[in-house]
């Protein structure tokens, strides 16, 4: 690990000023991704600004919106009463992610910013355009079973690894971003960047900017929602494909629908076209299959991950079927 100076932040604005003033400085929150990447020499800050004690850990809100401090841990958010009652898809995604130890450390803000688990990104002896722009992509001809079939480019096929970002994207959640200028709100659908020719740019955050809060719109009462995660092990494993969905069914008709996929995209993948198909339809296999087709529309497989296209479709149909059968 490269040597760094350690600074404990005394306030949000102080932390932002400290990191903004130094291009080699970085925030440190739960550290579950970052400390690991520092050990591997993938991430080499010269100054670490520890923000874990800043007062950004409370959860509040009203009947329409939940406002979550970015330093709330995954376990704390999963245990929150409103999340349990009104956002089952968020709770399930949180508890299906990582392990209890990691969830007690990892913050929700950090979760949204976690780096890909692509083994080539994490191994500086191999080519990676995300780590070293222009170096090439070893995953294209390498082990890419876990990699993305949606939103990829010939520069990068790395999957976005977060579970909870998937339901949050489906729900239209936004992040509140503070920098040295004005505060801004960015919906997650506009926060993440697909790799294109610049896979090193993963989101719209500028150096020194901090996610301070997350704003999650609550689902109308009566909405059924869930998160389905398909993976190689029963627990403690990243998704091969996952689906976050919410359906409001009334009088045999779908009145509202939210749908996003994880494990298959370079970013959490919301599918407005599938939501349109579902809205106003009767909840049956036919419309679920059409939504699944739309959800994987444009997917491109490599030799090792092409199976994810059909797996993703089936996961969509299964998730929607489970929700429609709930009484």
């Amino acid at each position: 690990m490269r040597s760094f100076t350690y600074v404990r932040a005394t306030g949000v604005d102080e932390a932002i000023a400290e990191v903004s003033a130094d291009p080699e400085a970085a925030f440190l929150a739960g550290g579950t991704t970052q400390v690991d990447l520092m050990k591997d020499e993938v991430f080499r800050p010269l100054k670490v600004v520890d923000i874990t004690r800043l007062p950004l850990r409370e959860v509040s809100g009203d009947d329409d919106t939940l406002i979550v401090g970015a330093l709330t841990t995954m376990e704390e958010l999963a245990a929150h009463d409103v999340v349990a009652r009104r956002l089952p898809l968020v709770r399930q995604a949180l508890l299906l992610g990582a392990s209890p130890q990691l969830r007690h450390m990892a913050t929700v803000g950090g979760n949204l910013l976690q780096r890909t688990r692509c083994r080539y990104f994490r191994d500086p002896s191999t080519a990676c355009n995300k780590r070293d722009p222009g170096a090439g992509c070893a995953a294209l001809d390498g082990f890419h079973r876990m990699h993305a079939v949606l939103g990829a480019s010939s520069w990068c096929v790395a999957t976005h690894a977060s579970d909870v970002a998937v339901p949050l994207t489906a729900l239209g959640a936004s992040v509140r971003i503070r920098g040295q200028g004005a505060e801004r709100m960015v919906p997650l659908t506009e926060f993440y960047r697909v790799p294109g020719e610049t896979p090193q740019v993963e989101n719209v955050l500028e150096h020194g900017e901090m996610i301070t809060h997350l704003e999650i719109p609550l689902l109308p009462r009566g909405t059924r929602s869930g998160y389905l995660k398909v993976r190689d092990r029963a627990s403690y494993e990243f998704a091969l494909a996952s689906v976050a969905a919410a359906l409001l069914i009334d009088g045999g008709t779908i009145r509202a629908a939210h749908l996003a996929l994880g494990g298959v995209g370079t970013v959490p993948w919301r599918v407005p076209r599938a939501e349109e198909l579902l809205r106003g339809a009767a909840p049956d296999r036919e419309v679920f299959a059409a939504a699944a087709e739309a959800a994987l529309s444009g997917a491109v497989g490599l030799p090792g991950n092409g199976f994810k296209i059909e797996l993703g479709r089936r996961a969509v149909v299964r998730m929607l079927s489970i929700l429609s059968e709930e009484s």
Partner: protein, 177 residues
Amino acid sequence: MDESAAAQARTAPGQRAPGVARVPVSLRVNGTERRLEVDTRTTLLDALRDGLKLTGTKKGCDQGQCGACTVHVDGRRMLSCLMLAASADGREVRTIEGLERDGTPHPMQEAFVRHDGLQCGYCTSGQIMSAVALLEEGRAGSDEEIREFMSGNLCRCGTYPHIVAAIREVAARGDHA
């Protein structure tokens, strides 16, 4: 280093790493105040093992994947290999050495012995620290729940059924507080 110098080392702005940067850390470990000065790169795991000679906590993967380094920080189970010692400054840390009471092993330790919950033993400290936390979290309602909430602790000898049996027994007796 006195208190004010220690505070300054933590907060001095614009300071650059001159080769090796060091930072004072004060931890309350198993009820005892411990002070040490570490390289900023030191993890809580290395501070416990190398700095404080508490070698009961094990280093397995050192990447947050195996759970062997599990300790309790402010009452919650965490991975000491992914936490900087500097970040743990001022925190309450409980390790496997802190479970016994007056020379008597913790009920979970005894149950692991009774049920043969280990073979090579390398993962055992982490398993037990995780198991004790799991009971405090109220996550031992069924074998399925125990397995799910112990999933962050790997055992390459495959002792899982015995570990689940040990936890189930302590949970049923309810004397783990």
